[in-house]
Amino acid sequence: MNIVKIDFAGRLITLVTLAIAIVWAFPLYWAIITTLKPEFEVVQPGINLLPKTWTLESYAHVLTTTKIGRWYLNSVVVSVVVTILVVMMGALCGYALSQLRFRGRTVLWFTVLASFMVPIQALIVTHFVLMSQLGLINTWLGIILPQLIVPVVVIVYKQFFDSVPKDFREAARVDGAGEFDIFLRIFLPMNWGVTTALAIITFIGAWNSFLWPFLVSTSEDTMTITVGITQVKDNFGVQYARNLAAAVLAAMPVAIAYLIFQRRVTQAIMLSAGIKG
């Protein structure tokens, strides 16, 4: 009998899987380990998977000689404001589309759906013209405004509000609650999970966005961190470890947000792709 038949193919696949996963994660490991070496060691020939001398010198250098603190502040302000506004506008509009009957509702809904397709990158020219007319080049507001158009948030909220049972709304109406009360006290609290997921993914997106902040902030003082670490050069000496240390610092908030909210991030990604889960 073949009770002890060993699944060799299965084991082989598992081994290959592990090998690929290690290869995939290696660049991250290599980047982090490089930041912990002194610069002279970084450029020594040979592959040293661990530093011979552990040091935080590159971090100290980045923190003391660049405007990284300022870029951090810019990124935090921009990402937090974008997140709050996008989620708030999306929830309100999604609620109206899902629960209220009003003139222009169908038109609005199809406009939202259609705008899904339009590439925001194609609008960089006119966004720049608009922001410069408003005097917003090199300002927080100038970085924030063009990032506010996220129709998918409206779509996701509408779907979720659609599935809230009708009874809740009718009962509240009988009690004399206004639409705003119903929205704030019933629909929003019932969908906190969605709100959290959307907020986290919007935050990560805003923190990571590059093209627009890169175009609209030309002064070192208004750059977000994703732009700052690529635009400002140290003019002397080898700086591999320093560049990577700046990169690690830039990635820290999103990495931490992801590690804390893993499930929500996963959920949000499904939602943004149109898979309700």
Partner: protein, 290 residues
Amino acid sequence: MHTKSRDNWVAAAFVAPFVIAYLVLFLYPTVRMIFLTFTDAPLIGTGGWVGFKNYLRLFNDKAYINAFWNTGYFVLLTVIPNTLLGLVFAMMVNRQKGYVQSLILAAFFLPYILPVSVVFRIWEWIMDYQFGIAQYALDAFYGERVAVFRNKAWAMPMIAFVTIWWTIGFNVLLFIAGLRNISQDMYDASALDGANRWKQFRFITWPLIWPVTALVLTIQLILQLKIFDQLYLLTLGGNVNNTMVLVQYIYKQAFQLNKGGYGATVAFSLFMIIVVVSVLQYQVLRAKPR
């Protein structure tokens, strides 16, 4: 009865923030872009009406045509590999259990949440001509070191590879969700009938996962047509014309050469390409449920 008009006002209050933002930051810029394509305006300031001259210029502009084909080449290098590899990785993750599964998934997914600048720093370092760790491998297997992002033949495939490394986590997640929706019973039943792994994949997994595959392909295609960030950063300092793509050409015309009107025309062409491609792809993929 005033209820009707009152309802309209309440609704207006709810949709106002989004609608206002939408009109000012989306519709107006879109209309303005189309208007700009008929002028010779600089980036900031007004220009004269030139009719269809900008459009005619597109067809004779070698640099534009080059950017068009480069974008197509990049799409070719990324869309299908990123989708199929995403499916393969998802199946690999899906057969593992417990913390091993979480660890492997994390390895594939973590790069996806990184900002593009970080991805750029990591790969710039790994591929560094003098000190990059990958150069040892190139030395050993290819025979010589290559400044990969500066080299015409190497740059695009390498940037495509970096893009896949960076973004595959998204596809893997979608495929895992899809795989979990396929009932285990079907595999068990087919195993009783003596179906091997390949047959199970060919006749169960592939057809049942197809809707997800189609979705991922669509998302990928539209996304990769808009390639700019990682390509721009990784090729900084090299000959940009080797790898010039459409969004980069908008940037070059409008922001570096101060040709707002022509830049807008390039932007509008990208806009139209994306609309046409999405409609076509929707038709093709819908018709193929295999």
